[in-house]
Symmetry: C2
């Protein structure tokens, strides 16, 4: 296995997830370059000891590993295979880890194009949020060749505490992540519907939180997001627009596959309503604010 | 506090929940009578050392405590206040614990009518399922006067490990239970949608279960119900019809309150579809069978 100092890693997309991963890699002694549209994010990377490039190709020049941590399939395609894309600029025989949530078909397409460019590809969606990204404690739901996992093991161990190896074929990692996002999105919408319904019945919603988290109605998302509502704090830990995107992928896939997704599609509409009301960039628990606005409820922080 | 031997308890409704509670009380030395439409259930109670009555009034004659463990508000009204109802037959100054899931308005109405009949009332919905009922390990989400809780403490301690005292007024316990059922019902429908969607993408659904239960997409219901699907075992631990009923209450309440419940209403329709396909009395994870039937998926036990 290679030592950290022998591996040069490029991180494309320095949002809260990508930046946290880059910082973890720098702490562990990797040589790290990065690119983001946001110059401030690149300046922060340089301040930590990394290097910035003017475009994905420049940032990835000579890198052994590229972590592509952008928002969706379109951005991934541009970052890897666009005119200034990373795939042909990195060292030959390198490894691309693609982390954005995307349809499995897109992951399969990108894996084939990476191979044509002489690179290996891991379909490697991530989960865990900004705090765990900064701590190097992500979960990775990945598929790809076993030998490729072995080659990038030092990088994986640095950014994640849990790495699922889900199969040899690209697309499997993407599909697992999509299933997780279906449930996560529905559970957030349900948590917001339930807690506002409780408020409409004049219940003590802090007590509702206590009882439900100890009962069969609990979910990981209910437990994690309802405190934002109780505190009236809608600063974005994860934004509404993430779920208009991810549940949108599921809705599109369902239509394409002729597979019904009524619950996910209804949850999608709740996020779209929340975005329509101007809260797309706010915390995804804002679905509760949207409902409270419609129904005239005095949630914490929203008292009229 | 009274000793068990001094308290006579009547259990009306000897389904899996009521029977488990009656058995727990008998084990603890209470004098227990019971009534159910099903003669077999009454015979089993007698076999354990209880007594049966020919109707609620006869079973409750002279009892200090009545546990009403029937299915809904209509049955509760009949059992307590009908022509052969328990409320006027039990000992004066007794306590009625009403355990069915019902709208808060119904609980308030029954509490007022119990008071007119000279009895105290706890609005005491239960949660936990048949196995925990049999073990005396239920959760009770209850409201009523603190002094009344104290009087029936020996009974509560015998049937439940967790008793939430949620307020002095009837209706609060019912409302908490309704919030729990909203979430539970949505989470079951979402679990069934997600696991069948995973199957439609050709994923290894046992692996999906392993990954999701360790991820942010998890819920108590996903963790509890998906094993039924993986094993192809739809014998009813809790039936589809429970959720057509409970989500139906929420849908009715929402319309009455002018409060939107889009996610719960969509989940309700999934249970109605499953009941329409003839699976109303089967396990509530049968929503996955309904979807698999539509989409031609080979779930375990359903291979064609």
């Amino acid at each position: 296995m290679q030592k950290s100092a022998d591996m040069s890693v490029c991180v494309i997309g320095l949002g809260s997830m990508g930046f946290g991963m880059a910082a973890s890699l720098l702490r562990a002694g990797f040589s790290v370059t990065g690119y983001d549209l946001n110059a401030d994010a690149m300046a922060r990377l340089v301040a930590l000891g990394g290097k910035a490039g003017q475009n994905p190709a420049e940032a990835a020049s000579g890198a052994n590993v590229v972590l592509c941590v952008v928002v969706n399939a379109t951005q991934t395609e541009s970052a890897l295979f666009g005119p200034d894309g990373a795939a042909s600029a990195m060292a030959q025989g390198g490894v691309i880890l693609s982390c954005a949530t995307m349809p499995p078909d897109a992951a399969r397409d990108f894996a084939a194009r990476a191979e044509k460019a002489g690179q290996d590809y891991l379909d490697a969606p991530i989960s865990g949020g900004a705090v765990r990204a900064a701590a190097g404690e992500l979960t990775i739901m990945a598929s790809g060749k076993a030998a490729v996992f072995t080659r990038v093991r030092p990088v994986l161990d640095c950014i994640a505490t849990k790495v699922y190896e889900l199969g040899e074929e690209a697309g499997v990692g993407a599909a697992f992540k999509i299933v997780n996002q279906l449930l996560a999105g529905v559970h957030i919408a349900a948590a917001c519907e339930a807690i506002t319904f409780a408020k409409a019945m004049d219940l003590d919603i802090a007590k509702v939180y206590e009882v439900i988290t100890a009962s069969a109605g609990n979910s990981w998302m209910f437990e994690n997001r309802v405190p934002h509502i109780l505190e009236g704090d809608y600063s974005p830990r994860s934004a509404v627009d993430i779920f208009t995107k991810d549940l949108g992928i599921i809705s599109d896939m369902g239509r394409g596959m002729k597979f019904p997704t009524p619950i996910a599609s209804m949850a999608l509409q709740m996020f779209v309503m929340t975005a329509a009301a101007g809260m797309g960039r706010d915390d995804d628990a804002s679905v509760a604010r949207m409902i409270a606005g419609l129904a005239g409820l005095d949630l914490p922080g929203l008292e009229r």
